[in-house]
């Protein structure tokens, strides 16, 4: 198979618990300042640490889009206004036409936090949801893509991809395929996920929430910390840009809904697929941003996969100790971090990582390394055994 043509990345944006914008994110990574804090929620959605974005509640959507108001779309709107992203899309639309730009966003729970509130406000006699609950514009999966398309004034194909914690990474793949097939020339990809009771209580029920801030790759790691985030990337065919999507790889585990494959065969297949499509060898990768949730099983399985493909040569780390696990948004959070790593020459070492699991064979970074790099691979794995690896690099 011949390598795919690099797909230009002409704009990005990110908001997470590390702050609003790429400069704030880079500053936090450099200063090794994480965004996790104790989870104040009581009951079954409580416990552990969370990566919450401050000040979201005060934000208002533009009046014509007010029906889309829910925390997830507020996060998306804040991300559109960050790092000049919406302006960059407007310029691309002026150049190419609004109908030539798709909107493909990943989310695992969309605006379900609004559904949670509506269920708490059910009519005590009939059980009906409150009349002002607007399912289609908030709770529904598609709400995220509808909102972003309307906010950006685009007119190409739009849909939501929801493959659990691989969602936003898969959005890059779906967009690359639509561009390769000639359906569109450019795409707004990325996504958002919101802190909500569903995921906090769900991961707690699985026994996967760490009591303290998560410690990916640590010998004493004891689970994950959930965070929220939203971010975007603008992918364009035939543009000059310093950075590009060089390859993507995807696979299924075909093993279990929520446990990784014991021999990590799916993760290995995704990384090899990405290298093949990029026309690169394992030695061409300078840094790997791990999925690295901080659970015992995930990190061990991923280490097996990384060591199998890359040996101990390529420095790798998870940045979820900084941001928390942003679930369906993790793919865009870590894509933007990968691009920041390329741009700034920063390999962020894992946070809260005092002693790398002695059983690990890959080269895990526990401290920041500053040096120029050319190519980064980012992993995102999700429930259902959905695996996605993306390779970003200089042109």
């Amino acid at each position: 198979m011949t390598a795919m043509p690099p797909l230009a990345i002409t704009a990005t944006s990110l908001i997470s618990a590390l702050g609003r914008g790429k400069a704030a994110t880079l500053a936090a990574l450099r200063a090794r300042r994480g965004g996790l804090a104790a989870n104040p929620s009581p009951g079954i959605a409580g416990g552990g640490f969370i990566g919450r974005i401050a000040g979201v509640e005060a934000h208002r959507l533009p009046a014509p889009l007010a029906a889309f108001t829910c925390r997830n779309n507020l996060l998306l709107d804040l991300a559109l206004a960050t790092d000049g992203f919406a302006d960059a899309v407007a310029q691309a639309a002026a150049r190419r036409g609004a109908a030539r730009i798709g909107v493909i966003l990943g989310t695992s729970t969309s605006g379900i936090a609004s559904g949670e509130d509506a269920y708490r406000a059910r009519d005590s006699e009939t059980g009906a949801l409150p009349e002002n609950f607007d399912f289609a514009h908030t709770h529904d999966f598609f709400s995220a893509a509808r909102f972003a398309q309307a906010a950006l004034g685009l007119a190409g194909p739009a849909f939501v991809v929801s493959t659990a914690c691989a969602s936003a990474a898969r959005a890059f793949v779906d967009a690359a395929q639509l561009i390769a097939a000639g359906v569109i020339d450019a795409a707004v990809v990325g996504g958002a996920d919101t802190l909500c009771r569903m995921t906090l209580a769900g991961f707690a029920a699985l026994g996967l929430i760490a009591p303290g801030p998560c410690r990916p790759s640590d010998a004493a790691r004891d689970g994950l910390s959930i965070g929220e985030a939203a971010g975007f990337a603008l992918l364009e065919r035939g543009e000059d840009s310093p950075f590009a999507l060089l390859g993507y790889g995807e696979s299924s585990d075909g093993h279990h809904m929520s446990a990784p494959h014991p021999e990590a065969l799916g993760a290995i297949a995704a990384m090899r697929d990405a290298l093949r499509r990029a026309g690169l060898g394992a030695d061409d990768i300078d840094y790997i941003n791990l999925h690295g949730t901080g659970t015992i099983a995930n990190d061990a399985s991923e280490d097996r996969a990384v060591a199998s493909v890359f040996g101990d040569r390529v420095p790798c780390s998870s940045t979820k100790g900084f941001t928390g696990h942003t679930l369906g948004a993790a793919g865009i959070v870590e894509a933007v971090i990968a691009l920041l790593a390329l741009e700034a020459g920063l390999l962020p070492g894992g946070l809260n990582l005092t002693r790398v699991d002695p059983g690990f064979r890959a080269r895990v970074l526990s401290a920041n390394v500053e040096r120029p790099i050319a190519r980064v691979l980012s992993n995102s794995f999700g429930f259902g055994g959905a695996n996605c690896s993306l390779i970003f690099g200089r042109r």
């Binding site: 690359a176 359906v183 569109i184 696979s251 299924s252 065969l265 259902g384 055994g385």
Partner: protein, 271 residues
């Protein structure tokens, strides 16, 4: 223009219990009778997973397996474990989401969330169980686009067929939502369909062909010609696929518009 051959078809809906049993109804040779029959048990799943699978997963896996089985009659080398898949559903496993929301809304929090319920609530639950059933390593995508789910899902599956130059299983499904969600999102009955799509050259024994493009102009949804089938379309977002299935069953050539959020998917279906 994206082109693909259709190698296999799966179908489950009211009065439409499988492609073979429904072909005469879709072709207008036998009258339609609105009888809702539960989909077959997904025997391909290991017993544990079969017990855990919710109604939408059962529905999706039934049509997906039927389409692949049919495609293998003419293409025995088609390996379901290596077949790329695109699952598309407006509501996913809404029954499980409803149960979780009720649990989370209980002020006493008397019952915690069940871990199995939680992992069965993800939108890609059908894609996940499909790959588990076949021990498959091929990618299985999962999309949602409310009333545009058929158009967006087929657009993506065709783009993947063309871009990857490989066959792709497209599976579209929606199961009825329980109350109170049912009051905000109409899904009157279970409906699912699946197509095995292949690059144009690989079309020996094809059941039909599709040429498709994205058209930025708005267009109304083209419905089945038979009034009884046309009446089903508003009862489930996945039933928007009925006009395509009717065209294939009648061995007709027909142009079909399927609205996206903006613009539409313009299909040209030929025998």
């Amino acid at each position: 223009m994206m082109r693909a051959a259709i190698l296999g078809i799966g179908l489950w809906g009211p009065g439409l219990s499988g492609w073979a049993a429904s072909r005469a109804v879709l072709a207008g040779e036998t009258p339609f009778a609105h009888i809702e029959t539960p989909p077959p048990a997904p025997l391909l799943l290991p017993a544990n997973e079969r017990r855990r699978a919710g109604p939408a997963v059962r529905l999706a896996l039934g049509v997906a397996e039927a389409a692949v089985t049919m495609a293998r009659l003419t293409h025995p080398d088609l390996d379901p474990a290596r077949l790329r898949a695109v699952f598309a559903s407006s509501n996913g496993e809404g029954t499980v989401v409803d149960e979780l929301l009720k649990t989370l809304a209980d002020p006493a929090e008397a019952v915690g969330v069940s871990p199995t319920q939680f992992h069965n609530s993800v939108h890609n639950v059908a894609a996940g169980y499909w790959s588990i059933a076949h021990g498959g390593r091929a990618p299985a995508d999962s999309l949602a686009a409310h009333d545009a789910t058929f158009a967006a899902g087929l657009l993506k599956a065709l783009a993947e067929t063309v871009a990857e130059a490989a066959p792709v299983l497209f599976c579209l499904f929606d199961a009825p939502l329980p109350f109170p969600l049912s009051a905000c999102r109409r899904t009157d009955f279970a409906f699912a369909m699946a197509l095995v799509l292949a690059p144009e050259g690989a079309g020996a024994g094809a059941l039909g062909r599709i040429a498709a493009r994205f058209d930025p102009r708005d267009a109304a949804l083209d419905r089945p010609r038979a009034p009884a089938l046309a009446a089903l379309v508003d009862g489930n977002p996945a039933a928007q696929g009925l006009a395509l299935l009717e065209t294939l069953a009648r061995h007709e050539s027909r142009r079909l518009a399927v609205p996206l959020l903006s613009g539409h998917l313009a299909l040209a279906v030929t025998p």
